[in-house]
């Protein structure tokens, strides 16, 4: 549900970029980190609705999932999203959905057991490659 708040931030940041740079926005990409476990259909619907009512009306966007990679700061072992969250309950996953960096509070290195987990990729949401309207 907080996908709506995130969508608001995305549209505002694109609008701010448009105002500052003086360019109309043709398109942009939204990268969603796998660890955030956001509902991309809800995010897409919110973005469509907000864009249609904004100063960047008409801008197109794509949503792509960025795979998560988590490395152990102690032994260097790297884990995929599936490996890292395996065995976690629904409630524990929800806490990581809110704050992805809490992966280290809920999971441990599958190789050495250390809690020193670092997110290499696939953390949260970012807006990339804003393309301006030519002319």
């Amino acid at each position: 549900m907080h996908e709506y708040a995130i969508a608001r931030g995305v549209v505002e940041s694109v609008r701010d970029f448009s105002l500052k740079s003086g360019c109309g926005v043709r398109s942009f990409r939204v990268l969603v980190g796998e660890l955030s476990m956001l509902d991309t259909s809800v995010l897409r619907e919110a973005l469509e609705r907000l864009i249609a009512a904004s100063a960047v009306k008409g801008a197109e966007f794509s949503i792509e999932i960025e795979p998560a990679m988590i490395s152990c700061g102690s032994c260097g072992h790297t884990m995929t999203f599936g490996e890292a969250i395996s065995g976690l309950s629904e409630e524990e996953r929800e806490m990581i959905h809110f704050l992805p960096d809490l992966i280290a509070s809920y999971a441990a290195c599958k190789w050495c057991g250390s809690l020193d987990l670092r997110i290499v990729s696939g953390r949260g949401v970012s807006v990339r490659d804003v393309v301006c309207v030519e002319g």
Binding site: L19, L99, G124, V127
Partner: protein
């Protein structure tokens, strides 16, 4: 002014505009900070927030002591934040809206790198739906690292800091360095507070206040009841301590509406 940023990789941070919007709804943001650990920042932040809320101010408390959050324990907050279209709605006790990492970590260890802490501070500022507030008190961690540097960037216009120290040269030394950092970040310094005071006229706290040109807001005496029962006192008990009486004077001196 907008905080929207664009790095060399053409990446926009969606949180900047949400943070700007959220902070724009808050009249005054007060960082309760001190540099040194164990000087009483958390207890002062939580108690002050409760007093302000009881005095009919719309008040929030944001616990940014990410490695050792204690606001929920001090105030008896147990409910989860509620997910909504506005973000995460914080639980409320006596009108006070409380947000803490502990509402998500549930007492588990918090092994966080500097980068992780910066991300969490931004996320909490962007996604916590405090709504309109008269005061947001921020319980800052010991040290002058990522949490302080990250939030300082956002609260320059509506923010200020109350610096807590104990009357020891060690704590005062760290408080002095903190004041320099706050000034360099263009943050208003509301004043300096001496906690666990022994009312020694030779206290280095007043000397620091003079040397740095910072207001001295007052002394809070050492209260043995708090050292033995802190975190296990009910809210009414907490507000009836000698500590709370002295803190009320300090808050009045800081110009806050506690009556």
């Amino acid at each position: 002014m907008s905080y929207a940023s664009r790095d060399s990789g053409g990446r926009l941070d969606y949180r900047d505009s949400l943070i700007e919007e959220n902070i724009g709804k808050i009249s005054q943001i007060i960082l309760v900070t001190g540099g040194k650990g164990g000087v009483g920042k958390s207890l002062i932040a939580a108690t002050a927030a409760l007093m302000l809320s009881r005095a009919s101010n719309r008040t929030g408390l944001l616990d940014l002591d990410l490695h050792g959050p204690s606001s929920c324990l001090l105030l008896g907050v147990e409910d989860n934040p509620v997910e909504s279209g506005e973000g995460l709605v914080p639980p409320v006790v006596e009108g006070l809206k409380v947000m803490s990492i502990d509402l998500f970590s549930k007492g588990r260890p918090l092994p966080l790198t500097g980068q992780a802490k910066e991300e969490i501070v931004k996320e909490m500022l962007a996604l916590t739906a405090f709504g309109r507030l008269d005061y947001l008190l921020v319980d800052m961690p010991p040290g002058t690292g990522d949490e302080l540097l990250t939030i300082s960037k956002y609260v320059k216009r509506s923010g200020g800091a109350i610096v807590i120290t104990t009357p020891t040269h060690l704590a005062v030394n760290v408080a002095g360095r903190l004041i320099d950092i706050l000034r360099s970040a263009s943050l208003k310094i509301i004043g300096l507070v001496e906690n666990m005071s022994t009312s020694d006229p030779e206290s280095p706290t007043k000397e620091l206040a003079r040397a740095k040109g910072v207001a001295f807001l007052g002394e809070i005496p050492f209260d043995p009841l708090l050292s033995s029962r802190s975190g296990r006192l009910g809210r009414d008990e907490l507000l009836s301590t000698r500590f709370a009486d002295a803190l009320k004077h300090v808050l009045r001196n800081a110009g806050l509406s506690v009556d």
